[in-house]
Assembly symmetry: D2
Homo-oligomer: 334 residues x 4
């Protein structure tokens, strides 16, 4: 850790700071420049509260040399992590296709979609039972009943199920779910993350709308440091000034997360764009960027069948896309 | 609600859509332009799922004419809401100064700061007992013990206490807290918001890092529509590309929220800037912009006393600032 | 164009507005809702100054139904535009690979790189002669001399040259350049755009750091409406809160621009990420997303050869990448 | 300057880098941590191309200890700069009120507005003659004729005039203008900035839509290092995800720019918000934040008089605001 002092710091204040740092068991290398003095802190700097340091009047800025995350860090775990969900593997060259409707609505709907996506090569079934909604007046999902319908679809197809949990008090209901999704709005719900760390179940952790990669990795660190090493990271679009898509799909995050961490990284082109016409090209783009999997919305309900869905593909669109995804992976040498 | 259809939509599809809308009990005014047809939906459009409408293949875009929020809407409640916390009033010209340390650390610390800020004219005491931290390894607050220390400081000074709640399971611990703060990271934790709606206690709702004013108001709507009408809105900075402050203090939100809603609006210059030197000018700016109150960090702990705090003022700084705040309110005709 | 009036507008003011609009030769359809009245303007609304309309006190908001751009609009030009640069074609399935160093430095450097990228299949040579630099103290390019060196490299390899113009007064110097690049910082330098419209030469127009797709298309409209129909659009990253890459590569812009416009769209993974390790995956991602070409930095200078360049690939990296790009195009059915 | 090397850099590569740095006449302090080695560069590091350094494969990151700007830097010029425009002074406690219409339209209009704002206490007259417009089809100002009308208004009122220049080729037309404004879109038009540096006239430099404070200061550095020391900085809103105002008014920039630079800093609440109702509160907020002046749109044209302007105040609004601005300055101790 590097601490850059301000100009003209009184010697006594500098000494106080240095001895305070040394009391934490760290060594301090002092380097005096023309205008500024720089302290190099050597030792286990993970104990140092950088916010506190930065807040000191005599400090101009602090630069962390080591990343603040450990369990998720590729430096300490050079090989890709492979996460198993039944027979399915994710990571280290194992690619997964997760598909299904935005919301679970009826048994017929979810079973029909599940069969269709399985036939097209999907590895897992997604479907929302508990739905986060901006408005208190909008439909918030079938909740527990939705989970039961997902299990019926699993029984019919053999596809493991992935679905979102929002509330610590609902954890028991998710006991028989294969993969728990933590949504973008809960990426920094730390108590919920700690609870996920106590489960023996893969967690699909979505990046928050306005969160940096470091913050995403720190949230994964919450889960891993609480005991659950099976975390799947997911890029799903960030909020920017750009307004033609619902979010801005930050695909460079895929190779960057692979560089920083050993965890598998998947991408969600449906939520990232919010426009079904953009899902196929962006699904292929995410594949070419090296994602370990995709999570894609596919619908089969009558109102959408009538006119076609916003961010959902039809089963036919998905079938055509799945073929290209496999081909692009080969072409990109993945 | 206005629905703009795409070019060259087949007549049969348009008719299907129109009859589907009419089945919801709405009237449809059709206006044909040179290139596009526009549907005007008249009636109680709050039942219409705009995301679904926008997702239809034949629809180019949807524009809501009425705001989707009701309880919080100034249109239906033209007078400013006044919220009472004991003898303290907030809103409609009643200005509150909330001050205190970032974290509650010791009885001596919190009582000393409480006495100091009271002497300078603070109306309420803030202090973090449960602290959201990006890293699982950082200090997360004294938790229940911190709440007890806040109550001691209240007993000593008479100042009502404001403190953050993050977890539904902790609600009982907050029974004797005067104002519950819902932090930026939990602004869209909808289950938590619904629970806040069941309490008989003012809720201080902070704007999320990447949330629009509409989303903030919809979150307030969650609380109000669940039964609790005492919501205080708080602007505390948003995340942008600008990197010299921790966040970008979006002060125009203050007059705009006043225009859209009857709820009181306060501002937090400490978290918005993250730099103590910027707190006094930005506190005055927020005051001049018409905020109904300010929430400001003031510290008194030894390590900070040594060198001065990052986003915290000393009691002396706060005292000088409080005088100017009162003068600026008068000068601005507030 | 849709004009939504505020609540409770006095009848006389509404009539004034309606007659003002009718005086512009437009028809007005009036639709009265429960709270708001909506005016539908029918006719040639391109004459209407929407900013003025929006500014009126009685107007709540204005929504454009038709796009404000014409020459660039796919609606009025359904087929893809193909732009020819000598024998090279861009657009409508014709893919171009543009490569070369960030700055032209010496004859040996530019000729060596040009030969290398040509051998790997590049179609055009890029190289900066006039360089925009944030600091007045940094090297701003070899300027006119750099253009001469580019022409030597063209003579040696036959590759057309692409290079940036920043100043109207330099236009004569660019007479013998094959494609003029207008950089991100000049995307809204309207006088410069108009001058580009008077040339008989393809213009590569880069999206500004904080510009929407509509603004990019309006800037292309400046060039086309001034007489030059040969505009190539380029996505090169936008500025967001995300800080691990220099910019955020907004790849969804590629299919979206194709939907809105008939012009070819290329992508620049080097500037978008600023990190050479991310260039190959993001070049493949842009290809899979349907870009009509890529512009990639390739270097060959000794200091970089020593240690490897930031956003530049070595000729060897580029050679391996070019093969994969061709394969991904096939796999994606492009 | 601090250079942090990656883990496990081979000794030979590190030595190459160190000797390359020493050849630039700098000293290198080497500090070895547990995982990383840090180089401290001491001496005149302004010659070092940090982008090149950061691009080296063995370098993890580079941190500048000194700011890259000199002429604008408060470190080397501790006292506030005062800029004189005729009898008017700006900076170091001298506050200026600049007001006038968005566009100069007719002699009657500009003279009427000029007289009105002068009567309310304005110090200078603003008015657009050359107008940047997103669309090539919108009115782009009266151009040279507009400048003549501004001069007439100056002759009638004695108010110095401030107006925007966009094109190097128009500089001669601005010879008799008192203050030249460089707009947000041209903040990084470096050739134009250098030309401004050759003039003997104050330059009002507006912050670009997506530019950091460092970039704004570097653009001011272009002007100052070319010979013109009279630069006025202007915060006018930045582009963010927040969509209820045209831009997000980043008022913390005012005290931060004062800390970093000795140049005067003014603010533009009209362009920052784009909504006239928000101009008075945000003008007062900018004043309380310590701005050295405000630039405010005031109109008097018939169409706006009919209904009221978007981001423009009426002369009556402006008059009432001007009184409060003076009072707020006193109250804030400015």
């Amino acid at each position: 850790m590097i601490v850059i002092l301000k100009n003209n710091v009184p010697g006594a204040k500098e000494e106080q700071l240095v001895s305070w740092i040394k009391n934490m068991g760290l060594q301090v290398h002092i380097s005096r420049g023309v205008y500024n003095t720089v302290l190099g802190l050597v030792g286990d700097t993970s104990k140092v509260d950088t916010e506190l340091l930065e807040s000191l009047e005599i400090v101009q800025s602090v630069k962390q040399v080591s990343e603040p995350f450990k369990c998720v860090n590729r430096k300490f775990h050079p090989d890709d992590t492979v996460i198993e969900v039944g027979d399915i593997k994710i990571g280290a060259g194992n690619f997964v296709l997760i598909a299904g409707p935005c919301s679970v609505e009826t048994e017929e709907q979810i079973v029909t979609v599940a069969k269709a996506v399985k036939a097209s090569g999907a590895d897992m079934l997604r479907g929302g039972a508990f739905k986060p909604r901006t408005s208190p007046y909008d439909f918030a999902g079938l909740r527990a009943e939705g989970l039961e319908l997902l299990k019926i679809a699993r029984a019919e197809t053999g596809l493991p199920i992935v679905t979102e949990l929002m509330n610590i008090m609902d954890i028991d209901l998710f006991e028989d779910v294969d993969v728990i999704q933590i949504g973008a709005r809960n990426m920094q719900n730390y108590d919920l993350l700690r609870e996920m760390g106590k489960l023996d179940k893969p967690i699909l952790l979505k990046r928050g709308l306005a969160n940096t990669l470091k913050e995403l990795l720190m949230s994964a660190e919450y889960i891993m440091s609480s005991g659950n090493e099976r975390v799947i990271l997911c890029e799903r679009g960030i909020r920017t000034f750009s307004d033609y898509t619902r979010n801005t799909f930050d695909l460079s995050a895929v190779p960057m997360l692979h560089e920083l961490s050993h965890l598998p990284v998947i991408a969600d082109p449906s939520h990232a764009t919010g426009i079904s016409r953009l899902v196929p090209p962006m699904a292929l783009a995410a594949t070419a960027a090296g994602a370990d999997g995709l999570i894609i919305e596919v619908h089969n309900d009558p109102m959408h069948a009538l006119c076609d869905g916003a961010q959902s593909l039809t089963p036919e669109d998905f079938d055509a896309l799945a073929v290209k995804i496999r081909d692009v992976r080969k072409a990109a040498g993945l």
